[in-house]
């Protein structure tokens, strides 16, 4: 205010200075801005709604079933009032484990090839083709598991290994299918982070006489590690949240085991099956869906936050 007074008095005698503010208050502009802010705010509303819609019934559930029992007991049979969620968590990670055993080497191998070895032309073709895999609806991948992967595994299974060939529903085939689905996530994000490692690091190593493999494994890989870890964490989170593949391929028997040939029920499969059936609202069985959903939401949220953090880290270092 004072500064302005000095300015006007200083300009005495000269024509009055042009004002830089707009001639009208621009209510239209403000209205548009508020509308756009509302659109963005909707995402926060969505998150709040998700949390509320999970927590309110889940709290009702935990009034009937102690949290300790839910998290630590080892039997899951809602019809008989057995609410130990461990078999479902084990079911999820039984599938995810085999998926990662398949997807991590394949995904990182593909990423190193694309970032360090492939010519730009090959990369320009192979990368989008791999990304097609990520866009295939998961119900199609589940069908592939039932119609090809499981029969194939049964055919080539070595006798009584791990207790005999996989059944019609089994964790291994589901894991392999989910693995195939997340290979492009690992490959794509890892490749991005390897490509953003500055060329100078490579050149330095080459100048010291390192071979190409040494450069890839000892220079580029460690330098890109945070991006690679981010891609793996994100891939695990996707695998944990996947529903259609586990419904079709892994089965629906709660089973506390890491044996890949067995029929297991994952967290998502339980939600999918239970909520599809006709169960009355406001029963404990109905509330289990939300309790299990809360477990799923918290698990994936932790992994997503971790992944976002790792991605930020590699961006900070090299960009």
């Amino acid at each position: 205010m004072e500064a302005r007074n000095i300015a006007t008095s200083g300009a005495a005698g000269l024509p009055p200075a042009r004002r830089l503010e707009a001639a009208s208050p621009r209510y239209g502009e403000r209205a548009i801005k508020s509308f756009l802010a509302l659109c963005a705010g909707l995402s926060v509303v969505t998150t709040t709604a998700i949390v509320v819609s999970l927590l309110v019934p889940a709290l009702g559930f935990f009034r009937e079933v102690p949290v300790g029992d839910f998290l630590l007991k080892t039997e899951w049979a809602p019809a008989q009032d057995l609410f130990g969620v461990l078999p479902l968590i084990a079911g999820t990670f039984n599938v995810v484990l085999w998926g990662m055993v398949f997807a991590i080497p394949i995904g990182i191998g593909a990423a190193i090839y694309l970032a360090e070895y492939a010519s730009p032309r090959v990369r320009k073709i192979v990368k989008p083709v791999l990304e097609v895999l990520a866009g295939i609806p998961t119900v199609a991948i589940g069908f592939f598991g039932v119609s090809l992967v499981t029969p194939l595994l049964q055919d080539v299974w070595p006798g009584e290994f791990l207790g005999g060939p996989p059944g019609f529903f089994n964790a291994l085939a589901a894991g392999l299918c989910i693995g195939l689905m997340i290979v492009p996530i690992i490959a794509s994000i890892s490749e991005d982070s390897m490509s953003s490692v500055p060329g100078g690091l490579r050149e330095g190593a080459y100048a010291l006489g390192a071979s190409k493999m040494r450069v890839a494994l000892r220079v580029v890989f460690p330098a890109a590690l945070s991006g690679i870890v981010a891609s793996i964490v994100l891939a695990i989170s996707r695998a944990v949240g996947e529903t259609m593949v586990v419904l079709l391929v892994a089965g629906n028997t709660p089973n506390l085991t890491f044996n890949p040939v067995e029929n297991v029920q994952a967290l998502t499969a339980f939600i999918g099956v239970t909520a599809t059936g006709d169960i009355a609202q406001n029963t404990i069985e109905y509330d289990t869906v939300f309790a299990v959903g809360t477990v799923l939401f918290v698990l994936t949220l932790i992994m997503n936050m971790t992944s976002i953090r790792f991605v930020r880290k590699y961006r900070q270092i090299y960009e």
Partner: protein, 314 residues
Amino acid sequence: MSDDFEPKTERVRLASAGARAAVAGSLGKQPGGTVAKNRIFRALLLLAVGIALAGLVALLVDAFVEGQGRLSLDLITGSNSFDPEIAGFQQAIVGTLYLIAFVILMVVPLGVGAAIYLEEYASRERWWNRLIELNVQNLAGVPSIVYGILGLAFIVRGPLDLGFMLFAGSITLALLVLPTVIIAAREAIRAVPPSIREGSLALGATEWQTIRRQVLPAAVPGILTGVILAISRAVGEAAPLLLLGAASFVTFNPEPFSADTGWTALPVQIFTFAARPEEGIREVAAAGIILMLAVLLLMNSFAIWLRNRYEQRW
């Protein structure tokens, strides 16, 4: 990224050749076995790429082999039934068309609006803007079935209380793909150089006029590409719909705003068929998958064509 790749490799080649020559004279050869190890390593990497591509091919071929016998117009006109002789996807296709039409109507204005706000108006100094950003990133990673729970508790029942109608499925799918649209639209808007905005503002245009007449037209191809990719995700999404009544057995075309008549969608119908024990019904599921993949392939090709045709480099 690929543009600066050539000179870099050339530089690397020259530098390492020079260094090798210099070192070879005084220090001797690379340790024995290095060449062989390098070859094996390269072969393993190629194998990884090969396995991933082979998986994709096997998936496509398997669906085609199982379903090719059922590829005919009956697939589209045939009605929902567990008798493989007459089973088809008419109700499911109509359901999916309705679903996607409403999703587009909701997701385009909301997603682009949010992206404009975050890119053009929001100041990162403010904690609530950072919260929105982090929130959008996290929402993109929430499992789809959790959106199904949201739809069941908030839209089918609870506050909105729409009942098991198709439109409730549309809202849920729209919320599910919204983060994807926002992220893609933000990238497209960010790619428009600031000089365009500054030029427009300097000529006296208001903020909104600048966005409306300069930024948005330049960003439209990128935004459209993102929207198409998000929609193609919505087309194939089955899990959340399972919770919203889409698995019901219907033999008539769905009414989008009726909560009593039941409805279904293409991926859900494929799931139902794939899980049925009847002989021959799996072939119908496979044929449905071919149909769905063909539609998605068309959409994705169109998105890639759009990007290549209209992508501007400043």
